[in-house]
Amino acid sequence: MNCQEALVHLYEYLDRELTPDDERRVREHLTACPPCDDRFDVEQAFLRFVEARCRAHGAPPELRRRILQDLFDA
C-alpha cells in the first residue's frame, strides 16, 4: 500500500470501518511511513478532541424529572 492508498482509507481506518485485512494493510503502511503516521495521528487527535469536548455535558436533571413525571404521574 502506498501513501495515497492509505490516505483514501484515512477515516475508514480511524472509524474502525475497514475489513480486518484492509485495516492490517493500512497499519503496516503507517508503521513504515512516519509522515502518514503523523497525519493519521493528527486526525485521530482531532476526532478525540471533538468527541471528548462535545460529550462533556448531558441532559439537565430537571428534564429527566419532567419526562418521568409527564409519562408516569399524569
Binding site: 477515516y11 475508514e12 472509524d15 474502525r16 470501518e17 503523523d38 497525519r39 493528527v42 486526525e43 487527535a45 482531532f46 476526532l47 478532541f49 471533538v50 468527541e51 469536548r53 462535545c54 460529550r55 462533556a56 455535558h57 448531558g58 441532559a59 439537565p60 428534564l63 429527566r64 419532567r66 419526562i67 409527564d70 409519562l71 408516569f72
Partner: protein, 198 residues
C-alpha cells in the same frame, strides 16, 4: 376472587412497560439531549421540547421496538423525524449556509493541524467548538454529531439519517474538513496559531 389480589403488582402490563422504558430508553437521554441541542442550533428550550416529545413518542410506540436491537438508533430516528416534521417547519431559523458556499470557504491547510497540537486544542473553548458545530450545514452537522460525538457507526448513522453508507462517508469527510477549517480560523483570530502554519 379477593379484589385485593387484583391490585397491579410488579408484573402488571403498565409497570412492565415502565420498567422496559426506564431500562432500555432512559439511559440514552443524555445522547438525545446532546443531539437535540445541536439540531436546534444550541437552543436549550427547543432541545428540551424536542427530547420530551421524542420520549413521549418512544413510550407510546414502545411495542414497535424490538428488544435487544439498537435502542439509541431507534430513539435518534424518532428525534430526527420530530425535528424535521414539527420543529424545523415552525422554526424561522434559515439553513445556516448552503453546502457549496460552506465548502468554498473551508480554507484550511490540507495537511493536518498546526503545531503544537496541544496548544491548538487547549486554546479552543467548548463554546467555540459547539458554535462551530452548530454552524455546519445541517446535512453535515447531523452526520458529524451522530458519528463523531455520539459514536454511531456508518451503518447506524445511515439508518438514522435514511441515506446510503457512501453518503454518510462523504458527509463526514466534508463536515470534518469544514469543522477543522472553522476551528483553525478561530485559533488564528484568537492568536493561538500563526496564519499559514501547517
Amino acid at each position: 376472587m379477593d379484589p385485593a389480589s387484583r391490585v397491579p403488582g410488579p408484573a402488571s402490563p403498565d409497570s412492565d412497560r415502565r420498567a422496559r422504558f426506564e431500562r432500555e430508553m432512559l439511559p440514552h437521554l443524555d445522547a438525545l439531549y446532546r443531539v437535540a441541542l445541536r439540531l436546534t442550533g444550541g437552543s436549550a428550550a427547543d432541545a428540551d421540547d424536542l427530547v420530551q416529545e421524542t420520549m413521549l413518542k418512544a413510550y407510546r410506540g414502545l411495542d414497535g421496538f424490538t428488544p435487544g436491537t439498537n435502542a439509541k438508533g431507534w430513539l435518534l430516528t424518532i428525534l430526527r423525524h420530530a425535528f424535521i416534521n414539527e420543529y424545523r417547519r415552525r422554526s424561522r431559523r434559515p439553513e445556516t449556509m448552503d453546502l457549496d458556499t460552506a465548502e468554498a470557504i473551508a480554507a484550511f491547510p490540507e495537511e493536518g493541524l498546526p503545531d503544537p497540537r496541544e496548544r491548538f486544542f487547549d486554546g479552543i473553548v467548548d463554546e467555540a467548538l459547539l458554535r462551530a458545530v452548530d454552524q455546519l450545514p445541517e446535512a453535515f452537522r447531523e452526520a458529524v454529531v451522530l458519528s463523531d460525538i455520539e459514536g454511531l457507526n456508518y451503518q447506524e448513522t445511515a439508518q438514522v439519517l435514511g441515506i446510503p453508507v457512501g453518503t454518510v462517508k462523504s458527509r463526514l469527510f466534508r463536515g470534518r474538513r469544514l469543522l477543522k477549517g472553522r476551528l483553525y480560523r478561530y485559533a488564528v483570530e484568537m492568536g493561538y496559531v500563526k496564519k499559514g502554519v501547517t
